[in-house]
Symmetry: D3
Subunit: 227 residues, 6 copies
Amino acid sequence: MYELGVVYRNIERADSATADALAKLGSATVHEAMGRVGLLKPYMRPIYPGVPVSGTAVTVLLQPGDNWMMHVAAEQIRPGDIVVAAVTAECTDGYFGDLLATSFQSRGARALIIDAGVRDVKTLQEMNFPVWSRAISSKGTIKATLGSVNIPVVCAGMLVTPGDVIVADDDGVVCVPKAMAAKALEAATAREANEGAKREKLASGVLGLDMYKMREPLEKAGLRYID
Amino acid sequence: MYELGVVYRNIERADSATADALAKLGSATVHEAMGRVGLLKPYMRPIYPGVPVSGTAVTVLLQPGDNWMMHVAAEQIRPGDIVVAAVTAECTDGYFGDLLATSFQSRGARALIIDAGVRDVKTLQEMNFPVWSRAISSKGTIKATLGSVNIPVVCAGMLVTPGDVIVADDDGVVCVPKAMAAKALEAATAREANEGAKREKLASGVLGLDMYKMREPLEKAGLRYID
Amino acid sequence: MYELGVVYRNIERADSATADALAKLGSATVHEAMGRVGLLKPYMRPIYPGVPVSGTAVTVLLQPGDNWMMHVAAEQIRPGDIVVAAVTAECTDGYFGDLLATSFQSRGARALIIDAGVRDVKTLQEMNFPVWSRAISSKGTIKATLGSVNIPVVCAGMLVTPGDVIVADDDGVVCVPKAMAAKALEAATAREANEGAKREKLASGVLGLDMYKMREPLEKAGLRYID
Amino acid sequence: MYELGVVYRNIERADSATADALAKLGSATVHEAMGRVGLLKPYMRPIYPGVPVSGTAVTVLLQPGDNWMMHVAAEQIRPGDIVVAAVTAECTDGYFGDLLATSFQSRGARALIIDAGVRDVKTLQEMNFPVWSRAISSKGTIKATLGSVNIPVVCAGMLVTPGDVIVADDDGVVCVPKAMAAKALEAATAREANEGAKREKLASGVLGLDMYKMREPLEKAGLRYID
Amino acid sequence: MYELGVVYRNIERADSATADALAKLGSATVHEAMGRVGLLKPYMRPIYPGVPVSGTAVTVLLQPGDNWMMHVAAEQIRPGDIVVAAVTAECTDGYFGDLLATSFQSRGARALIIDAGVRDVKTLQEMNFPVWSRAISSKGTIKATLGSVNIPVVCAGMLVTPGDVIVADDDGVVCVPKAMAAKALEAATAREANEGAKREKLASGVLGLDMYKMREPLEKAGLRYID
Amino acid sequence: MYELGVVYRNIERADSATADALAKLGSATVHEAMGRVGLLKPYMRPIYPGVPVSGTAVTVLLQPGDNWMMHVAAEQIRPGDIVVAAVTAECTDGYFGDLLATSFQSRGARALIIDAGVRDVKTLQEMNFPVWSRAISSKGTIKATLGSVNIPVVCAGMLVTPGDVIVADDDGVVCVPKAMAAKALEAATAREANEGAKREKLASGVLGLDMYKMREPLEKAGLRYID
């Protein structure tokens, strides 16, 4: 439930070194490292592929078909932030285009995560400003109704609190609460470290059945092989 | 982002007289009275129509295809509660049927709000146990993985904190944070009081254009009448 | 493409006797009689079943999340009309509830067809005011942006011109252009007259294969029976 | 993959006593009794609620927007059959209305399961002919292209072989292969027998946690209670 | 509502210089310049990105699963045209592939906008023939039922009259009625001219809040800043 | 209806030369050559475009949110196989990532067709391991419940029997039953041979109307040209 018409100026951001380091681990590994939680719904897709990012969340709550608060949010961006935008109802309108992207980028924003639509996607790619959205749409918006900036929002089914870490890549978007960021980084790094050796074994033909010692539990569960 | 494997036993519930009084005002009026916020997504539909309810939320976080935590939640129900169930991924399986409903009802639960599927819907109607869900499905679930009970959850796009008031009817489901419940009741009651007179006027043929004094602002906005 | 900010006051309505007579023939028969055209998309569903209606269209174009023009439309309603509401973008908000229904009904409207959401559905059924919509939602709307009244609109994929006949029942909604209404009534009546005899034959066990003389064309098309 | 243009006249049907007996056990219980398989996708919904049925499958494969084969199928129906209709592409057109229902009913069909649309739903309810479908639509169909009758079809994601048992109710539709029907009946009956005692216990306030002895496995899995 | 079985050979096309000039302004700018109308639904996506086009509409109305009229439409194409295809029901079949594209291209068509599916997408990209569609599907179609060519059609929710200008790019598709084309070009060009200066300002760090003078209206609307 | 907990080790695969040869003909041509059947639903999309493949099917049936059987399936892969994975309920979780892909690739698998989600899509592209899926999702899975390997499965609406040929490209996925593979190759090759001449004619400006001799049947069907 949302408080409307407010802008919180002083939010506590997760440690920036931690936030920065999570990008290269990727959304899947970070999600697993946190105990398999934190993902936004999979309908959130990158408007162009190939750009993994991480950063600290500046949140914005929008009204349907109204992007007024995006301009308010721009002022609250600091270098290293990722803007996370939620809407009070389902909407696919194009809330964001190349002008807002120019403004966000000049403030130091790394990306936009928006549970709605965006436009000017070709220019956004040329500007190298990545966006994860539920839609692409030319549909314009008005500027008439207040939402809020830097309140906790639910974006694509996930609660995002201002200052949390966002990790986004071609696989999706994950939110890491700031209190868990250091631990998540550590766990994800450990998980990642492990993967090189596993990959090598699997590439050499060793089966996961053997590497993970699954044959016995599968047999216990009743698996039968038939020739 | 969710804490897994925990059950909070002592939650602070909204005042029960307030919670009880909100049902008859309805989800639309309460949502308007709070400033047009608090609604779960409209894909949440009653499995049978005609039963407005309100009560205090006991929350449960479920894993996909796994209803183990529903049994854990049953023990935390007190008379006047409404169980609000979220899932860590999109799922339409039938997590809940007549046996769980019998248990919930015997504990005093008034309804279930679940962002997944339910089954035995004919029996649930005969038992007079209302459910709002995203799906109806015979698909059964397993009992293998922990979720949590009475943590804040995101259900159908809305954050629900244990003890919040839930108001549900044929129009949808709204969550009223416990800190706002008294004020929401007051505002909704005032709004409702107003409606009788308005309805009478409109029934007599008075136009909303005149009753709400819209002709001038419409003209200012540029509306043109063409004969 | 839409002209915004205009209200056409004098529209030419289809002949009212014709418009009235189409209800009892039903949307499927009328659609077939016109050569299998005219249907709105099947996501348009009655909010409660069992009420076939027909009448002349008063159209309204709405902006997303904004029901201002519904009040403007109310004044243009004459007895026997059905209001047809389109939105400039996809939206499921609850544009219409019991107050507007009271106003529409007092002006003589028979139904609402809306490519968006409505609320107060229980009261609408008690008032006996039928609605076909794409959604049911408590979500409220604002009054800030102009649309139009009585311009041609596209509602759920079908072009509806003011004054056209709308036929709606549990099977869906069909639009009959006013220029075709008399011919459609005639053709639909003929079609209907035919059906009683067919139904009797089929009920007695005669097969459609024989009644429609399909055996030869099926054989020509290559159908093979295998024992 | 489908054989087109063929009608198999002599299919082996499941034992009729078994097929008849499954209706009252319901789709959810039968699905569980078979090891949690056999369900059609949950988008298949009854066009009106409250009628549990079971019977032996006569299958029909349809082309998009073409209901020719429904007439061919009618001839293959025997008393106690349920017609299961699949389409070679996704389609919501209204393939079936009151005339075909009259024909099917006169041949002894108990219901239709169709992965497409139907129309005349009000009349179908008055005739007491239940249908489970993916859509309701007035849209008519043509008779131009061959499909097949009584070949194995995939309907709403489930393989249905002619003569299999179909069990359908408000919770959904399940297919029981004829070779498994007797065993499924036995297992479902046993399951059902069990439920009365469980329901009584739960109604008296015993928790599932205790009745199913879940406390220990939950503790082992790491569940923590916090006061 | 559609007239079936007709081909209009002499349509009035929008001025070709105007039609050609709109491509580089883009669908979003043109839509804004017309007063925020004219867009097809955002489910219409390019089968490959990066190709902005504009041209005059040749329209075709198709029957579900039947592409016969596409061949009829081919003959009506003139250099600079864009074919706009609607279907009388929702359908995702592959109506169009490399052979039809070869024919369309040889007639001078610049693109296809189709509210259905297409196939041979890899070859279409190699041929440099852009398509905006609702689906990609290998599913073939038949040639059995008449539709029409060059009648007004509703494509993806928007009315398109033969000869209107179509503007399509990665953001979506907009229809500009021929009577408005000159004015739309002028307004869009003015809008575009404006954007360079704005972009520069925003890039230099000036906020939209200041550039658009939003601080006062936001304050009036009640926005509160909290430190 | 599925047999659970079994792995068939000795499946009969379609002839490998035939299976290999179908890739370059493409899913659309092969589907047409078989009489317009065999396609999986069009929601199955390549995670990256441009890689046509064909091979013999190893099938796996998965439980919702559980990828245990993928490891069991890995052992059954032989060079030239394509793994086809179905789930017992609708699910978009990420069942498959770079580690499993490494294992599958080292066993000789050419691709994965999965009616669920996958992750690590950027790495999968770098590895040149193509996947057709219904979703992309970071969401992890558990290993708790048995499915089966090498039983007939329904994947995206199509029955796939182990050893059948799978043909997949940017247009979609088609299943060729092994008994029909040789004939399908022959028919598709003939069809393809034909296309070059047609393409040349169409490119030179000959109309399909003339090339396919459609003018007469169109006239017979009642097509009217209006000047």
